[in-house]
């Protein structure tokens, strides 16, 4: 007797008698019915993205698609044993300090171009502008995303902007980052009033001695007066044929006002608030996570570029060196972590040298000793007006507050 090619259902042979047709049809029909009973009915799939799961043996059920960026995980608490959940993996976000928790410089207000605010975040402005970036604190429970309790956000208040651009940027180490990839830049934002626009620009800087930089401009979006997450899809160009110099970087700008760069945002005034900045490869914004996923990891990541020593009182900094003349001392510093490169600049305030016997001496100049410094060892040369004893050990001591010593290897 003949059989069907896939399921082996019994079928009448071509030479069988017509009088046996009814029985053959019933036999075939029963075989089909038996097979179909083992299959998932089409009605299980109720919408785009639906998949068939099971609530028990031989019991198919619809599982509706999750939200953008979510992943499917085993979850025994659900009827199907599966659920879509947000992707919290660390390392996907190339932006460091995207939740604005790290503020080593203690920034309280910045009104000038090319100045650091929260760690890794620097201002960007040109034209006739008046603005102030300030840190703001979330009231507990009011941060914009469930499951991640933000503490601090960034505010930009623009009072004047003519033929201008005003923004905030982060330089991501190495221009190879995101090259030739589709990326999504996302953040939560709100305006104090109206529906002003913002835009994202990705600038590929090939470093000193490298090819000229390349801007890729996103499509501007209007923001509302309530915390809302916005995402910008950007195709970052290939770096094929480019020359990469030293200290290259991929720079991500967020523009609040722009009549210069070409985003179409235009000159704008008003108050903008930002939190939860993320830049990741892919086509959808996944759940926000900091670059490292931990507080200590995020601090260390920031300290690769800048680390500040400070003292809450006027005590010593646990950094000591030796005087080599009556006015100068060399002090090798103990770093918190290795830095991106040799330190390129230091900032300081209200420091003294102290030998634990005589009166402390105010440091008038503090410079990098470039010959004995690299990414893991930094030696500074301190100058005082007079009074050091050659070959005597001195420690750095705080003076009146604010007292600090900062080391920068920022891009």
């Amino acid at each position: 007797m003949a059989t069907s090619p896939n399921y082996g259902w019994l079928e009448p042979d071509n030479t069988d008698l017509v009088k046996n047709g009814a029985l053959s049809i019933r036999t075939l029909g029963n075989a089909i019915d038996t097979t179909m009973a083992t299959m998932t009915p089409k009605s299980t799939y109720t919408a785009k993205g639906s998949i068939a799961a099971a609530t028990a043996a031989s019991t198919p059920a619809n599982l509706s698609v999750g939200n953008n960026g979510e992943t499917l995980v085993a979850d025994s608490s659900t009827s199907t044993g599966l659920s879509y959940q947000a992707n919290w993996a660390a390392g996907k976000n190339k932006i460091i300090n995207g939740d604005y928790r790290i503020n080593q410089r203690g920034f309280s207000s910045v009104t000038a171009n090319d100045t650091y605010t929260f760690d890794r975040w620097r201002t960007l402005s040109g034209g006739t502008v008046t603005y102030a970036f300030t840190p703001q604190t979330f009231t507990p429970g009011t941060a914009p995303v469930a499951g991640y309790e933000g503490s601090t956000f960034l505010q930009c208040a623009i009072s004047a902007a003519t033929s201008s651009y005003i923004g905030i940027s982060q330089r991501i180490e190495d221009v190879r980052t995101f090259a030739n990839q589709s990326i999504v830049v996302s953040f939560w934002a709100k305006a104090a009033s109206g529906t002003p626009s913002v835009d994202v620009v990705v600038n590929q800087d090939f470093g000193s001695g490298g090819s000229g930089s390349v801007n890729t401009i996103g499509t501007k979006q209007a923001i509302s007066t309530s915390w809302t997450r916005y995402s910008f899809k950007i195709t970052v160009p290939s770096i094929s044929g480019k020359t990469i110099g030293t200290s290259s970087f991929t720079n991500v700008y967020l523009l609040f006002s722009d009549a210069i760069i070409g985003s179409g945002v235009g000159d704008q005034t008003g108050t903008f608030q930002i939190w939860g900045f993320q830049a990741e490869a892919g086509s959808v914004a996944t759940a926000f996570q900091t670059a490292t996923g931990t507080l200590q990891g995020e601090l260390s990541a920031c300290q690769r570029y800048y680390q500040r020593f400070t003292n809450i009182g006027t005590g010593d900094y646990n950094q000591n060196g030796i005087a080599y003349s009556g006015t100068k001392a060399l002090i090798p510093l103990k770093l918190t972590t290795s830095m991106r490169s040799a330190v390129t600049a230091i900032d300081y305030s209200s420091l003294r040298l102290f030998d634990y016997v005589n009166a402390a001496l105010l440091i008038t100049n503090l410079i990098i000793n470039t010959a004995t410094s690299d990414s893991s060892v930094v030696c500074v040369e301190a100058t005082v007006a007079s009074g050091l004893t050659q070959y005597r050990t001195y420690v750095i001591l705080g003076n009146t507050l604010p007292s600090y010593l900062g080391l920068s290897a920022e891009l």
Binding site: N113, D114, L124, G126, Y165, N203, S208, G212, S213, V214, N215, T216, I217, G218, T219, I234, T235, P237, I260, I261, G262, Y324, L330, T344, A345, I346, D347, Y348, S349, S350, N365, L366, I367, I368, N369, T370, A371, T372, E381, P402
Partner: protein
Amino acid sequence: MENVTFIESENLLTNEITEHAIIDRGNGEFTSMPKSEYDRRQAEQSTPIVINEAKTK
């Protein structure tokens, strides 16, 4: 008001002279860096952002 002064420092090992910029922020805070780094930053400030014609959205 910022005030920039330049000083020279001699490397005790090589006797090489390096010039440094010291920026007085006017509030008791200072920033110092080798003059080569200061010059690089000044050049970057004069051309702070590139406006390129190629635009991808």
